[in-house]
């Protein structure tokens, strides 16, 4: 096959991933995403690191109470490869309420350290193999389970507060 047109960096990554059997999609010129099951996430992370994504920007947990699931999103990007600097890639995976655990990616990307720890305390996702999985932001005497789950309601004041009596 001869390719005369210059490939955009994002398309290049996607075809590179495809060659390795990973399905990913481009959302725009600088954003891409892929979904994996949790047993494959370490493998995917290693592939992504080989391509050149060398740091994790964010680890996000999103709660979906109707499906009894939590989505964990890793946003990765690159400092060392100039072509990839402008690209942010999202690696998405789901964990069940029954067994909210994921293999930790801190061995591959050290920069996932803070994000995984926060996702653990805020949503209760256990990252197996994280060197220090403990509370980071919440106070020691915090009560209640996991604040970023949707069933944790916070008290909100209405626009007009009724005076008592």
């Amino acid at each position: 096959m001869s390719q005369t047109t210059v490939q955009k960096p994002i398309d290049k990554i996607i075809s590179e991933l495809k060659a390795k059997g990973v399905i990913a999609k481009a959302e725009s010129e600088n954003r891409g995403s892929l979904e994996v099951t949790k047993d494959k996430i370490t493998e995917i992370a290693k592939i992504m690191k080989e391509i050149g994504f060398d740091h994790v920007i964010a680890v996000t947990g999103i709660d979906f109470p109707e499906q009894q699931k939590i989505q964990v999103v890793y946003h990765v990007s690159s400092y060392s490869v100039e072509d990839l600097q402008k690209i942010i890639f999202a690696i998405k995976t789901y964990v069940d309420y029954k067994d909210p655990s994921l293999p930790s990616l801190t061995q591959i990307w050290g920069s996932a350290w803070t994000g995984e720890r926060e996702t653990y305390e805020m949503l209760g996702v256990r990252f197996e193999g994280h060197p220090q999985l403990s509370r980071l932001f919440l106070p020691e005497d915090f009560e209640g389970v996991y604040p970023l789950r949707k069933d944790f309601k916070i008290k909100l004041e209405g626009l007009f507060v009724d005076k008592p009596g």
Binding site: I57, Y79, G110, P147
Partner: protein, 392 residues
């Protein structure tokens, strides 16, 4: 006579209210005065921005997301609005883009001066502290004139900005640049070239290029370790693709290099401001789509008369379509990342906010290991770590 040196091991609590820690506790394990391990206890100012974000309308969130770093509120504001704009699919007019860059650069100078001042007081140079806070005032007054607020400006709104530039603000900025250029020379003499400061910062908290990448350092801290990465160049937003500026990069990776990067960035920011004043195009400051919603009386009195946007009430509860957006800006301390997931309701389903100081937590923890106890404050100050920004 021989002196027997007994190794002393122990733990020490630094903070939560200590000149060297701010609102955070550092549990230091010491061997003599060498730090063997350090445990960061962040979260003393935790404001639960992400949780509150799920309970507020998109517009009501603007003042909330800037709160974590009040001295860098324009960037906090801009990153969030850019993410919302991506979901809404709004184009921003040219003049508004220039105004965003203008406000952001003024804010960057003010924030760096704050950082240098704090670093000064940490390592016992109180003149830098007073100068930093004094000089910052000059830039804050420009922001005040432009946005109407001193610190949390809430200046940038989806589709544009809230107020237009006036000739008096341009005049103020020109004066401020002349003043600052003169003052930066004094800064150099009294602070950067000061032997004490050089001793306290050089070869302290050294982060190699590989370490900076592995730990995910951002902003000036990253660039001081030899990585040429700036979002203003890598993924230009606002008007940065049309502006000419340089990115200071140092190889040393120590506290002094981090200070120098911030110091030189101020000069670059002033270059950007000069270009913006010269080249700013005429035109509206809010996207057409939203301008049409403003009633004619307000349009005539406020928008055309005074260059201020007074929005109609229903603007506050718009419903963006389903979707998600990730936006990032180069804030004063480094990369600021927003991830907004919308489910079609007037409130975000999930708001993720990754601030530069949040990413510095891991960097700081690693840099402390093996350092001398007295250097902890120097490392802390040179990272320009801002506790409320880290725990949000």
């Amino acid at each position: 006579m021989e002196v027997e040196v007994v190794p002393v091991q122990g733990e020490l609590n630094v903070g939560p209210q200590h000149p060297g820690s701010g609102h955070m506790r550092i549990l230091v394990k010491l061997n003599g005065d060498i730090v063997e391990d350090c445990e960061l206890d962040v979260g003393y100012v935790h404001r639960a921005v992400e949780k509150l974000g799920e309970n507020r309308n998109y517009m009501h969130l603007i003042p909330l997301v800037e709160r974590p770093a009040i001295l860098d509120s324009i960037h906090m504001n801009m990153g969030y609005v850019m993410a919302v704009e991506k979901i809404l699919n709004v184009d921003v007019p040219e003049r508004a883009l220039y105004l965003r860059s203008f406000a952001a650069e003024v804010n960057r100078i003010a924030s760096h001066l704050y950082g240098l001042g704090i670093l000064g007081i940490f390592i016992g140079h109180s003149t830098a502290f007073m100068w930093g806070f004094g000089d910052r005032e000059v830039w804050l007054q420009i922001l005040e004139a432009l946005t109407g607020a001193r610190v949390t400006n809430s200046y940038i709104i989806p589709g544009g900005v809230r107020r237009d530039l006036t000739p008096s603000i341009i005049e103020m900025t020109k004066k401020a640049i002349v003043y600052m250029r003169k003052k930066l020379k004094d800064w150099e003499k009294i602070f950067l070239k000061n032997p004490t400061i050089m001793d306290r910062l050089q070869n302290v908290g050294v982060m190699t290029r590989e370490q900076a990448i592995e730990w995910g350092a951002v902003g000036p801290n990253l660039r001081a370790s030899g990585v040429n990465f700036d979002i203003r160049k890598a993924e230009p937003y606002a008007a940065y693709s049309k502006l000419d500026f340089e990115i200071p990069v140092y190889k040393e990776g120590d506290g002094y290099a981090r200070t120098l990067v911030r110091f030189e960035e101020m000069e670059q920011s002033m270059r950007i401001l000069e270009q913006i004043i010269k080249d700013i195009p005429e035109g509206p400051i809010l996207a057409d789509r939203f301008l049409k919603q403003i009633p004619p009386i307000r349009m005539k009195k406020w928008v055309q008369g005074q260059g201020r946007i007074v929005l109609p009430g229903y603007y506050a509860s718009f419903r963006p379509p389903r979707g998600e957006a990730a936006a990032r800006v180069e804030a004063s301390r480094g990369e600021l990342f927003y991830y907004v997931v919308s489910d079609g309701s007037p409130k975000p389903y999930r708001l993720r906010m990754i601030t530069p100081s949040y990413r510095a937590i891991y960097v700081f923890k690693n840099l402390c290991k093996g350092a001398r106890y007295a250097d902890i404050v120097a490392i802390y100050g040179s990272l320009d770590y801002f506790p409320p920004e880290a725990d949000r």
